[in-house]
Symmetry: C2
Subunit: 225 residues, 2 copies
């Protein structure tokens, strides 16, 4: 990421590699004190905001290479919970040590600014998704996002397993479980993908993208400046 070899080593020294976590384990819970950032090495993690009696809003799904816990820096408490979706390896970066290191390595500080900024940008994209897009567009965007992220990490961008439930997808996208289920069925009927429970094969990524573009136009007759 633009760091010198020796800097990488210093960073490497403060990273803690824990033993693997299992489905259902928590990295942290809402309200617990903030001590470290986490990086997913393998597997996947969801973050979510629990509400009083058991309800939850899923805030994100985190795949290998992605950082978790950035929203806790501000008030030194976690604002959301993080739960492991499948057997996963997760590294821990004690934030105090990291911060101290980043004062001494400007490029590390720079990367950290960028990472935080990227997270903000991503959240803003989600705001547009939830504010303006219909169900179909939301699911298409979700699948394309997964596809892109798998691809970046060297996995197949068109053939993968979902580690999250339909319910969790629905919560993330602001949709009911039933709607998600029906959309998968419909997308399959239309030849966009093949779905068998958790196993997804994207058959026509271009047409999936088309769903997004098409409706980006549709939605803009109202809501204009």
């Amino acid at each position: 990421m633009g760091l010198e070899q020796e800097d990488v080593e210093k960073l490497d020294q403060i990273v803690r590699r824990n033993r693997p976590l299992h489905r259902g384990d928590h990295l942290f819970r809402e309200g617990s004190p903030f001590q470290a950032l986490y990086i997913v090495k393998t597997g996947s993690v969801k973050t979510y905001a629990p509400s009083e009696e058991g309800g939850e809003q899923v805030l994100g799904f985190h795949l290998p290479g992605e950082l978790i816990g950035l929203d806790a820096i501000e008030n030194e408490r976690h604002n959301c919970s993080a739960k492991v979706l499948e057997t996963s390896a997760v590294c821990e970066i004690p934030f105090g040590e990291f911060e101290e290191l980043s004062t001494r390595i400007p490029s590390l500080q720079h990367q950290m600014y960028r990472l935080l900024s990227r997270e903000i940008g991503h959240d803003e994209e989600m705001l547009t998704l939830l504010g303006k897009k219909n169900a179909e567009e939301r699911l298409a965007a979700f699948l394309l996002s997964l596809s892109k992220r798998f691809k970046r990490r060297g996995f197949s961008p068109s053939d993968f397993y979902l580690s999250m439930s339909r319910h969790e997808i629905g919560s993330y996208l602001g949709l009911a479980v039933e709607t998600v289920s029906r959309l998968f069925t419909r997308f399959q009927e239309e030849g966009l993908l093949k779905v068998e429970r958790k196993h997804i094969q994207l058959l026509d990524i271009d047409r999936l993208r088309g769903i997004l573009d098409r409706d980006a136009n549709r939605g803009s007759r109202r809501q204009s400046t």
Copy 2:
């Protein structure tokens, strides 16, 4: 914010105070190169993601003391546009200089991490708002947020002017203009507030809060783990 006097002065030296901006002026536009962060001194600014033919998703309203442009650090381009809603004074902080300064002042770096983190936390709250709350709750949350922010800056928390249009509020909250308008009328009928065009008086803040809490429960029968 926990900075030493001399550090404040150093920061002060790189801040640029521009002449006042007027309604409709842009601080920056989507796609333009990122050069500085902006702080609202007086007035208000909206950030929004323009879509092809004139549509837009309002991403935020920024009041005095609030920072704008954090989402542009990552790829050194702005991902959204920022437009002034009323005559406003806005300071500019050239990011290159700021970043350099923050490598030399650890507490400044710390504050910057916190600010970025706070923004992420705020966006995540908005995700929950858009994902799970109904129209009534959204508007209540919006008004309470404004109230809190005015209060913090020493303005009245219960009597203020909206610098944004109903349309912009609707876009921000993922609602149609008409819905926003009807809700204002309803809230007024219920004695929650008094509204006369842009002038708002909150008459029963506790009951407004109640709207949020009440429905936090209501919404959680579904969407449970």
